[in-house]
Amino acid sequence: MANLNIKIGNLKFKNPVLTASGTFGYGEEFTDFIDINRLGGYIIKGTTINHREGNPYPRMVETPSGMLNAVGLQNKGVDYFIEHIYPRISQYDTNLIVNVSGANVDDYVAVCEKLNPLEHVKAIEVNISCPNVKQGGMAFGTTCAGAAQVTKAVRNAYSGTVIVKLSPNVTDITEIAKAVEAEGADSVSLINTLMGMAIDTERQKPYLSTYTGGLSGPAVRPIAVRMVWQTAKAVNIPVIGLGGIMNGRDAIEFILAGATAIEVGTANFIDPSVTMKIIDYIDEYCIRHNVSDISELIGAVK
């Protein structure tokens, strides 16, 4: 049994396997399939200051080795979360991380202030990269100034670990990462989805009600691995890698590219127990390669 413990900011994780926001609900949906306590951590869905209905149906279409989604941050708002959901899910022996989103900086701050007192919320993941909302979202994540502005405000409003989730829809993701690091983020997670579109050629209509959506799945993995590799070399804070991780091999690929931890997203839709298999694989891989501590693998690509 290799040592799989890792650290993001001051927060310890029993292993580097997290679940990606918006693909794991509040965790409860998966208790028939996995032991949440075995996860390094789990990131619950994008939470906003007010209740959001999200985008109209249809919100999803399958694409080659991936899918497009346009959920649009449907959630009941931070107050409902704190009152009704948090009490139910706060007892797991793993790091509970809340993904935070907003239409403007004040919204981000307001959500952070409400989450700050919750002792079982160990970290927040600041979503400045959602391609499926009209205001905010990706707008902040595609400029250094916007990314820095949100990070600075959130950093002041939240005392725990701050992870900023970056958009891949940019010319140079390392510039955004550096801007975020400069404002005190403890970590960056990447990549969020790539903006895409698919058209039903028989109906001559887009498949999504919003026309465009976010592309995820193994189709985007090579892009995500490249961005993680570039970013891990550009910043000194730990990088969390995600984007099309379907199995343990893929998780190792991101770690070798420089990721300190990884998030499993779309794969949860296809195999709800995939995270457990990934944790087991990482352990077996370490043994097979005589790695006593996972840290030896981080960025170890030769």
Partner: protein, 254 residues
Amino acid sequence: MDFTVVANERLHFNYSLLKMRPTNGDKLPEILPGQFVQVEVAESKNTFLRRPISINFVDYEQNIIWLLVRNAGEGTRHLIESKINDVINMIIPLGNGFSMPSSDNAKTLLIGGGVGVAPLLYFGLILKNHGIQPQFLLGARSKADILELNEFEKLGKVHISTEDGSMGEKGLVTVHSILKEKFDNIYCCGPAPMMKAVAKLAKPIGAECEVSLENMMACGLGACLCCVEKTVKGNVCVCTEGPVFNINQLTWQI
């Protein structure tokens, strides 16, 4: 959960009736009529997600589940071409089933269009076992598309509509003469336009009406929020809040 294909009856060029048994010999879980499964399509270049398929019938004695599958694309085409002893992974059971009529002597009609008849067979059996005599109204393009007729006839009176008139009454199910009668409970599964038309008919006569929706799904577990339907409670996941809805919960213009 892995299932082994024990029979694949090609009812029609486009439809297959798959009969499957848990590969490891486990007993089937309790399954409610109207529930569905998420089927993995293993060897298919262009199929990434699982495919949601409603449960057609459950034979607890033989520990076999039936799926009625329509060829609706590459994923389902692979399923209807399954061979005996193929192993197929399914997440089972998912969603909520049909609710029973309030009274045992409720006059009950089950309306199915095309492959939408699938969940009505198992539901019909459950109703019959509860001493309720269901009637069925099956609609399709033509005679060849009327599926499992012999099975339905074992459970209750069957009325038929075909668009080309090759069997039963000509036209859509919504103009079938049986609908002149008053029913206490109407259950419907089929194409959305058909379900909406049925809902329109059910409302004025005060019949309790439930429909089974087929919104596109990714996870089937309520995690991805992709298969949402607008309801009086706002957008809800069809996979966890449905697939069966009382028409009063929906926001259809009827």
